[in-house]
Amino acid sequence: MAHRDMRRSRVLVAAAGLLSGLVILWLRVAWLDLVLHADFEDRAERNQEQRELIKPVRGNLLDRQGRPLARDLLTYSISAAPKEMKDARQVARGLAALVRTDARRLQRAFEAKPRFLWVARRLPPETGQRIAASGWRGVHVAIETRREYLLGPAACEVLGRTDLDNTGVDGLELEADEELRGRPGWTTLFRDGRGQAHALPRGLRRPPVNGRHVVLTLDADLQAIVESHLARAVDTLHAVRGFAVFLDPRTGEVLASACAPHLPPGRARNWPFTDQYEPGSTFKVVTAGAVLEENLARPDQYFDACNGAWQVVPGAWIHDAHRAAGYTFRDAVRHSSNIVMGKLGLLVGSERLYRYATALGFGSLTGVRFPGETAGRLHSPAQWSARSCPTIAIGHEVSVTPLQLALAYAAIANGGVLMEPMLVREVRDERGGVLRRFGPHASHRVFGEGTTRTLREFLTAVVDSGTAKAAGVPGLAIGGKTGTAQKYDPRTRTYGRGMYLSSFVGFAPAAAPTLVGVVVIDEPHGAHYYGGEVAAPVFREVILDLRRLPHGPFDPGVSQVAVKPPAPAPVVVPDLKLLPPRAVERRLAEFGLRAHFEGQGARALAQAPAAGQAAERGAGVTVWLSPPADSTGRTLPDLVGLPVREALRRLTLRQVQARIVGRGTVVRQSPAPGTALPLASGCTLWCEAVAPSAPAAPASGSAAAASGPAPGNGRQAGEP
């Protein structure tokens, strides 16, 4: 028995040993798994995972007609690791055929068995995808994005550019960066023990949100036309530079903004917005407009021109280019008489001149959404000297930006309302659906209609028979004003001799302008330097080209796109959301507005202008209707007249519970068709047996009529 006891005790010792070993191990696992878990989790992540950003696709910049101006181009870069290849020769042959290089050279390159080599970079997506799909071992495909500007260097100043990370750094790329850039997603790439990265489906944590597309007000055609003519003028005149801005006077939409020459990226500025210059005679419309608006002089009133030289104050002279004894007010504008306009400026007086100049937007930012805009320079009358009033009246002692000038002329062109400049028309989502639409905004009225009509007459005469004859286009009435300013030389602190800044501001067609343009040529060299000889021809060439262009701004069919400028005393657009079309019309009629429907449907989904915005009485409000109820499946369909079986099928498709009363054909349903899904409760169908010979449509109609509260048709549906 002792033997047996000894055995048992020794087995117990062994059992105790094994058990305590297991317990220690269990505690150890608990320690690792539970106490140190977070730490190890971290280490595992560092070990295995690599968070990699997935760049979103940057949104496109589109022109007003939806043509891309800037877009992300996906390019594929192919690298090879011949060491990993099974059959390098065959891979080389296949690759060479796809990327169109010399197969033998590629084979030789592979034979050296380097760890890594580029086979081809920046391939078009089709080729890249085909290579990626081929699944060769040792061939790696990387996707790189490149921003592509489809107009080339043209418009680069206004569009701006992006940096290496595809973030906007200047121009519209910077201004609209918020919309364009999207939100990067990230994935956790998983690294295996050999350091090779794999994307795990589980690893993807956040998908990227691609950028939105921004539809600009720019017109690619006009932009190209303006740039080519501007560049030619700058070249032939040996000018330092030139810039031009064109806009739609009715809406304030900037149609083109051009600079010549194109400076290298980084130094390029969109001069029409960012540079100020002394406008010279083009500024005289401010004086002329003030005189007319305040009724200080009649257009045919005669003024003494002092034979070309007038001493404003002792020691300060104003000269005319052409000596004359005197001009009528109208002719003073036509021939750009400094003296008469200076005298008129005195007539207007400092305070009023300043008020009109500021009302036209000079001296302050226009509010255009563009980085680096300058306000120009317009001192307040308190800082003016004795000679300031007549000097400013002829466009000196002030600085303006071409954009300000264009907007001021736009106010004259559109009947007296200063518009806020627009660069962005729409923001669209990735698939092209409009997310936001920007309508024109009127700032305020500056001149009365009569004043602007007279001013337009004045300015048309300038082109017809005045200083800007070079801008004339046969068969089209054009209005405009030339300007020639001596440049202030900061080195000598005087107005430089022979340094001129020649400009022309024009609008066309004169009677109802759809286009206003400012052309500025900086320091033209040669015999000609007057704005009428230098800048006006550029404007004319642009107009000539535009007339040849189908669907240009002078094509009556297209000008409908821009609405008439809203009057400054507007009504507030009501909220139309979710109203049925008829209620929309009624509601808008209360406000004196007209409805313009887009699409078909039972409810208003969106509207432009938005609710709460100002609109002129009589203006149209565009209302987007929801798509037909059945197409999206988000609303309850009209089931009346359908056999129960079919009605059930349609409800099941939309995951609606059905309760059926009776049998046969549906005669009534609750809730009404068009009710938004999902429903809180199920849908009840009342059915009746209909004689098989009876056609379905009348049955539906009579049933609907009989059922009363349930309308038979989504379009007529009232509030459910």
């Binding site: 033997h3 000894m6 055995r7 048992r8 020794r10 087995v11 117990l12 010792v13 062994a14 059992a15 094994l18 058990l19 070993g21 297991l22 220690i24 191990l25 269990w26 150890r28 696992v29 608990a30 690792l32 798994d33 539970l34 140190l36 878990h37 730490d39 190890f40 989790e41 280490r43 595992a44 070990n47 295995q48 998983f190 690294r191 295996d192 023990g193 050999r194 794999h198 589980r202």
Partner: protein, 378 residues
């Protein structure tokens, strides 16, 4: 024949099933990288499991008396194979451990350790150390053990040699050898171990990095500590319930030998603390049932055989788990029933079959005893 302890069939089969699943989970990636076939290891392991279950059933019906008689033959075959491996062995991981027999690779160690336990049980039954003194009682079995361990060591496979020695030594302890006698070989073993470390630099390196780890908690992640680091990351990132079966990430070529020696790490990563506990409970249950069988035997051969097999399985499991959790220097020992590897699985399932057979023998013996007692009583 009476029915044995059915736990001894259920538990090994459960462990084998867990093993097959975990082998698949941990080897699919390796299979793809090496053989372009995620099922490469799984299909092999499945075939072996089927063979193993056959071996288990076979052993559960074996005549134990015949086994005792055949013990020297078995040992002879094992020794022959071990010698053969020296000559024509298949190299794997810097050591010659396997024999290539057509499509099968055979590790003679697994046959060797199995045969050693059987032979030693027979020897210790016939020459109980407690009755023959130190020289005649203890030295001969130690010499046999030493010789076999030396053969294994030659491969070189220090860990298997040590475990073989440890199992044998534990059997001598179970057979009732006096403790003061046993103290001598312990000292000798320690000296041999130190000599081995001196002569086999890669073993030394492992021990050194282990000692460093124990002292400082730091691992030489670029050298021999890499494997342990990856194993600890796997276990530690499991948390309570793990990443989910198949969701482990450490098997992506981070953890070398994930499907063999470090299969527990993948299990802990994917099934978490709960899964690891479950596995430990399975092992503990198996060991408990086996030791229960051991304690109930009446025949010294069966007692030593059952004890030896149990201890062998237990020691392998403990050392494997200790290695995976960083409590022992990194060595290449499989986790019984679970790890990938044909010979080991076969040997372990055969051992389980034998244990069941012994439990059945116990049952019939006890029934007989009860019968006799009741007859005597009557």
């Amino acid at each position: 024949m009476r029915r044995g302890d059915r736990w001894l069939l259920v538990l090994p089969l459960a462990l084998t099933a867990v093993g097959v699943v975990m082998v698949y989970s941990s080897s699919a990636i390796l299979g793809i990288t090496r053989y372009q076939d995620p099922d490469y290891f799984l299909s092999k392991q499945l075939i072996r499991a089927v063979l193993g279950v056959g071996a288990l059933l076979l052993c559960s019906r074996l005549s134990l008396r015949r086994l005792e008689q055949a013990a020297p033959v078995l040992l002879g075959a094992a020794v022959a194979l071990l010698l053969l491996v020296e000559l024509v062995g298949h190299k794997a991981g810097g050591a010659t451990r396997q024999l290539q027999l057509g499509p099968l690779t055979l590790s003679p160690i697994d046959l060797g350790r199995f045969a050693t336990v059987i032979f030693l049980a027979r020897w210790l039954k016939r020459h109980p150390p407690a009755e023959h003194g130190f020289v005649r009682g203890l030295l001969p079995p130690l010499a046999i053990l030493g010789a076999l361990s030396f053969l294994v060591l030659r491969q070189p496979n220090l860990s298997s040699a040590v475990l073989l020695g440890a199992t044998g030594f534990a059997m001598i302890y179970l057979s009732g050898a006096p403790l003061r006698h046993l103290a001598v070989p312990v000292g000798a073993g320690a000296i041999t171990g130190l000599v081995m470390l001196r002569t086999h630099p890669y073993q030394m390196e492992r021990v050194r990095s282990f000692v460093h780890f124990v002292m400082t908690g730091e691992l030489d992640v670029h050298g021999s500590g890499w494997q342990l680091e990856q194993s600890l990351i796997a276990i530690g990132s499991g948390g309570w319930h793990g990443r989910g079966l198949g969701g482990g990430l450490q098997k992506y070529l981070f953890l070398p030998e994930a499907h063999t020696d470090f299969i527990f790490s993948i299990l802990a990563e994917e099934l978490g603390f709960i899964g690891a506990t479950f596995l430990l409970v399975l092992i503990a249950l198996l060991l408990w049932r086996s030791l229960r069988v051991t304690a109930r035997t009446s025949d010294p051969f069966l007692f030593l055989l059952a004890g030896g097999l149990t201890l062998q399985i237990g020691l392998y499991a403990l050392v494997n788990l200790a290695v995976a959790t960083g409590l022992a220097p990194t060595t290449g020992l499989p986790l019984p029933f679970v790890s990938y590897g044909g010979s080991a699985l076969l040997a372990n399932l055969a051992a389980a079959g034998l244990l069941y057979r012994i439990s059945a023998a116990n049952a019939s013996h006890e029934a007989l005893a009860r019968q006799r007692w009741s007859r005597e009583g009557a």
